[in-house]
């Protein structure tokens, strides 16, 4: 994280079972190789393979049109980098493993679960968070449609849903109700706001087309 004050340190052998973070760490250290096997993979990697970590390493992210420099361990997810490093907390951490969609952001305009992307892998790509959808203080039409149709209750899933809906409309500018149900199945809400979300997407689609 940006506030990390420790020097890079040697990797600790995990004492517990392999966690998701370990897995992502293994996946992330060999940036260009794509091999998912941790230290063994590093040892076996070709000389051209760039190896970073496991300690903190400089990471440059392009977020909502701004360049942000962070010092992150390679295992840090894009979600945690946004939340803990840049105080962009609209994307939420809920399931933390690519199921619930509350962490949805856009990478080069396509929706992704930020909990399942490593920050170092998001370098060089255009990251758009919910905060980036408000332009010059003006809410995105999707946000307005969410308010108009009461598509939020506790609101914790809402930012992820809004981003997912914006990305969905890029692909389906004139969606049918069936497409809405299919296309937004990757975002979960516990309070049960889906009726409002359905209406909001259709209203925003109309608004954006006109």
């Amino acid at each position: 994280m940006s506030r990390h004050k420790d020097k890079p340190r040697k990797k600790q052998a995990p004492v517990g079972p392999l966690t998701r973070r370990d897995f992502l760490k293994g996946a992330g250290v060999a940036v260009s190789s794509g091999i998912l096997a941790g230290q063994a993979a590093i040892a076996a990697a070709s000389p051209q393979t760039e190896v970073v970590g496991p300690g903190a390493t400089p990471v440059t992210l392009r977020v909502n049109g701004k360049t942000q420099k962070l010092n992150l361990e390679p295992r840090v997810t894009l979600l945690d980098a946004l939340r803990n490093g840049l105080d962009l907390t609209g994307a939420k951490r809920v399931c933390d493993r690519g199921v619930c969609g509350t962490c949805t952001v856009m990478l080069d305009g396509k929706p992704v679960y930020a909990c399942s992307v490593l920050a170092i892998e998001a370098q060089g790509r255009e990251i758009t968070t919910i905060e980036g959808l408000t332009r010059d203080g003006e809410p995105h039409p999707m946000m307005t449609a969410f308010v108009n149709n009461d598509a939020q209750q506790c609101g914790f899933c809402t930012p992820g849903f809004v981003v997912a809906c914006v990305a969905f409309l890029k692909k389906h500018p004139n969606p049918t109700p069936e497409q809405v149900d299919q296309g937004l199945g990757g975002n979960l809400c516990r309070c049960g706001t889906y009726m409002g979300v359905r209406a909001a997407v259709l209203e925003a689609a109309k608004q954006i087309r006109s």
Binding site: Q12, R97, N148, D150, A151, Q152, C154, F156, C189
Partner: protein
């Protein structure tokens, strides 16, 4: 209560009450600007993590936290349960620590050396025969003479086995806090809580400081559903870590912990025998039930439900202790369970009688308690039949149409109290015309802010934007916790009174300028004017300018004992589910669900409707998908995550409709809470719809595997 100093305006004088308003915190939520406890960042803040027990029952035999203390970035380590402690459920807290980053904290937790002696455990709560000493003494209640009643000649008797498992709250924002000490005796806590005003008191005694030295803040909470009334041990440890480290600490539960330890709704299993005369008159009930919410067992669901005036009944309930953590209140505690057990039994009996279940429930509606509910149910059943086109679509049990998709309809009734909690507020009118209402309440996403805004703006004759609503801080006049559907009654009661008091103070200052007595004035349409003489008026700003330099600060108090009650409790509701069951795959799909609901006088119809939609969707979740699955061999929860702890998605809910009962009979009771009522019936309505479609009835959740097994069993 007409004629009282504090009352609701009559229908023809309501400008905002009962009119659809946009949720006032909607823009903050939909833009991602709303800050939840999970989002709070403080200068130098550390991250807390917890070592939890992996066993359902074990004793700690060795513990060494030195390697964690020495780990990079670690600033504080606290042993919560030491060697010799007996742990009663998986996920219980052993050690908490705080470090500079989340990653460092996770690494440090994994460095802790700990050994356990695993002990025998019990987690299989559906099998009461295996419970042994884990079963508490049964609680038995007998009314009338059920044994004799079942002997009546010609009585039609139905017997069945029904049930639903333990589910978890699965709040999207997990439980947790951020604590920052401001001096050695004082701290601020950003708590994810359903009761912002009661948080200081919960921290104070264990930490040995005055509640006056603790400020709790909760502007937004990402779900509670009954599970966030306590600061919990992890909350206390967050405060202690922050003190030890001398830095703010954020400790939010990980997703697995959230599902393991932060919320369990008790299971309810049992056999019901119920009898009625051939004309459908219910006369006798006998049930033997059991259930668990974990180590503390469970309460007794109020069956027969809601027909507790059934003349002859016996119920015996056994609470079971299981090694799965502790139960927490879950929206309408004990009611969804009671509703399923009763409404499924009644539905089976109606099928055996060859009666339409709506006719059966209508016939027996007088067995509901009190004077209000019987009439409400009869009217609601009629309305529900009409809106669902029941006469056209309902068929006797078993869809005989060809093909593998079988369609069915089911109906259920429910009731809930929903009376107001006590609370206070301040309403401030400034000489410049600005108005603020402030109270230590919280908005769980139910629309509390919006309701408060509507009430105060209506009372002062202002638009919604003319009133600033300030909640979510324990420094404000205390309001009750948000549970049991008590909030809307509580906050509308206190803020209506506070706004009337403030308005009357203003009238005193303004009356001379208008050449009238204060009680001749009214505040409407942004004006203060003489009643019946609109020509004699001042704009709101002009009127407030008469205050000179001194603002009005008026108190409002909601108390159950006060005169002029603005609210009450005891609502009735009916729901109808229309489902399709694929008898080849076992998949149940919701086609439509209808809620016909009474909740007294509705302040904010749009958020009220959202409450009903949400409750129905939560009901679909627990009817078809949700279960805390605990492995009998290891005692471990198999699905402490969101890929296998299933919730409904946007495509799983069919079409939902809500109808609110209106008119003097309903509205004269004032404001009544709505959080619980509509979440009670879905389980029974969906279960009855499935039974109607395919003639068999699995327990909840009604999974494809259970459907196929039930069909196979029925075929012999």
């Amino acid at each position: 209560m007409p004629g009282c100093k504090y009352d609701w305006p009559p229908p023809n004088e309501r400008h905002l009450i009962g009119k659809p308003a946009k949720r006032i915190d909607g823009p903050a939520k939909s833009s991602g600007q709303a800050k939840y406890s999970f989002d709070i960042d403080r200068p130098g803040m550390l991250f807390g993590k917890v070592l939890r027990c992996p066993y359902a029952h074990a004793k700690i035999t060795a513990l060494d936290v030195a390697p964690a203390k020495d780990a990079p970035g670690v600033k504080a380590v606290r042993v919560i349960q030491d060697v010799g402690s007996e742990i009663q459920w998986q996920g219980d807290e052993i050690v908490a620590l705080a470090a500079e980053t989340e990653e460092a904290a996770e690494d440090a937790v994994r460095r802790i050396k700990i050994q356990y002696e695993p002990l025998p455990f019990f987690v299989a709560d559906e099998e009461i025969s295996a419970a042994g000493s884990n079963a508490k003494a049964p609680v038995v209640k007998t009314v009338g003479d059920p044994d004799q009643a079942f002997q009546e000649a010609g009585l039609v008797v139905s017997e069945g086995y029904y049930g639903l498992p333990v589910i978890t709250h699965c709040c999207l924002e997990s439980h947790g806090n951020v604590v920052e000490w401001t001096d050695p005796q004082s701290f601020k806590v950003w708590a994810s809580t359903q009761g912002v005003s009661m948080v200081p008191g919960q921290f104070a005694e264990p930490l040995g400081i005055s509640p006056n030295n603790i400020e709790s803040i909760c502007q937004y909470i990402g779900g509670g559903f009954g599970s966030k009334f306590q600061v919990d041990r992890w909350g206390l440890e967050t405060a202690r870590l922050a003190k030890d480290a001398g830095k703010p600490v954020k400790l939010m539960l990980e997703r697995d912990s959230e599902l393991l330890v932060a919320g369990a709704r008790p299971s309810f299993w049992g056999k019901v025998k119920v009898g009625a005369r051939k004309d459908g008159t219910l006369t006798a009930w006998d049930s033997e039930t059991w259930g668990t919410g974990g180590i503390s067992g469970s309460g007794v669901p109020p069956i027969p439900y809601p027909f507790d005036q059934l003349p002859n009944y016996k119920r015996s309930h056994t609470a079971i202790k299981t090694n799965i953590g502790s139960q927490r209140a879950w929206r309408a505690p004990n009611h969804p369970q009671a509703c399923l057990m009763s409404m499924a039994a009644f539905d089976d009996l109606a099928a055996k009688l060859g009666m339409d279940p709506i006719e059966f429930l209508t016939k027996n509606a007088d067995l509901a308690p009190g004077k209000f509910l019987p009439r409400t149910y009869k009217e609601e059943l009629q309305k529900a039949a009409e809106l669902s086109d029941w006469q056209k679509h309902w068929h006797p049990r078993g869809d005989k149409s060809p093909g593998h998709i079988k369609r069915g309809m089911g109906v259920s009734l429910h009731t809930w109290g929903g009376g107001p909690h006590d609370g206070k507020c301040n309403v401030t009118i400034q000489p410049d015309g600005s108005v603020e209402v402030a109270l230590g309440s919280q908005d769980l996403g139910t629309g509390t802010r919006t309701v408060i805004n509507i009430v105060v703006a209506e009372t002062l004759g202002l638009p919604l934007a003319g009133v600033k609503v300030t909640i979510g801080d324990s420094r404000l006049p205390p309001d009750g916790p948000s549970g049991g559907s008590t909030t809307v009654g509580g906050v509308s009661g206190s803020t209506r009174r506070g706004a009337i008091n403030a308005r009357d103070e203003l009238f005193k200052s303004v009356a001379p300028a208008l050449g009238a007595q204060p009680d001749q004035l009214e505040a409407v349409d942004g004006q203060v004017r003489v009643k019946g003489n609109p020509a004699k008026s001042l704009t709101w700003k002009q009127a407030c300018a008469k205050l000179g330099v001194k603002p009005i600060v008026a108190q409002g108090e909601q108390s159950r004992n006060a005169e002029c009650q603005l609210n009450s409790g005891g609502v009735g509701g009916v729901q109808i589910a229309d489902v399709s069951v694929d008898i080849e795959t076992g998949i149940v799909r919701i086609n439509q669900m209808l809620a016909v609901q009474d909740c007294g006088l509705i302040i904010s119809p749009r958020t009220a409707e959202s409450q009903c939609f949400g409750a129905m969707i939560m009901g679909i979740c627990y009817s078809l998908y949700e279960e805390k699955i605990v492995d009998r061999q290891t005692g471990r929860m198999l699905n402490p995550n969101m890929e296998f702890y299933k919730l409904a998605g946007i495509g799983d809910i069919g079409e939902l409709k809500v109808h609110f009962m209106s008119g003097p009979f309903y509205e004269e009771r004032g404001v009544i809470g709505l959080g619980e009522p509509p979440v009670i019936s879905p389980g029974a309505a969906i279960s009855n719809a499935v039974a109607n479609a395919i003639g068999v009835r699995p327990t909840l959740p009604i999974t494809p595997a259970k459907i196929l097994a039930a069909l196979e069993k029925a075929m012999g």
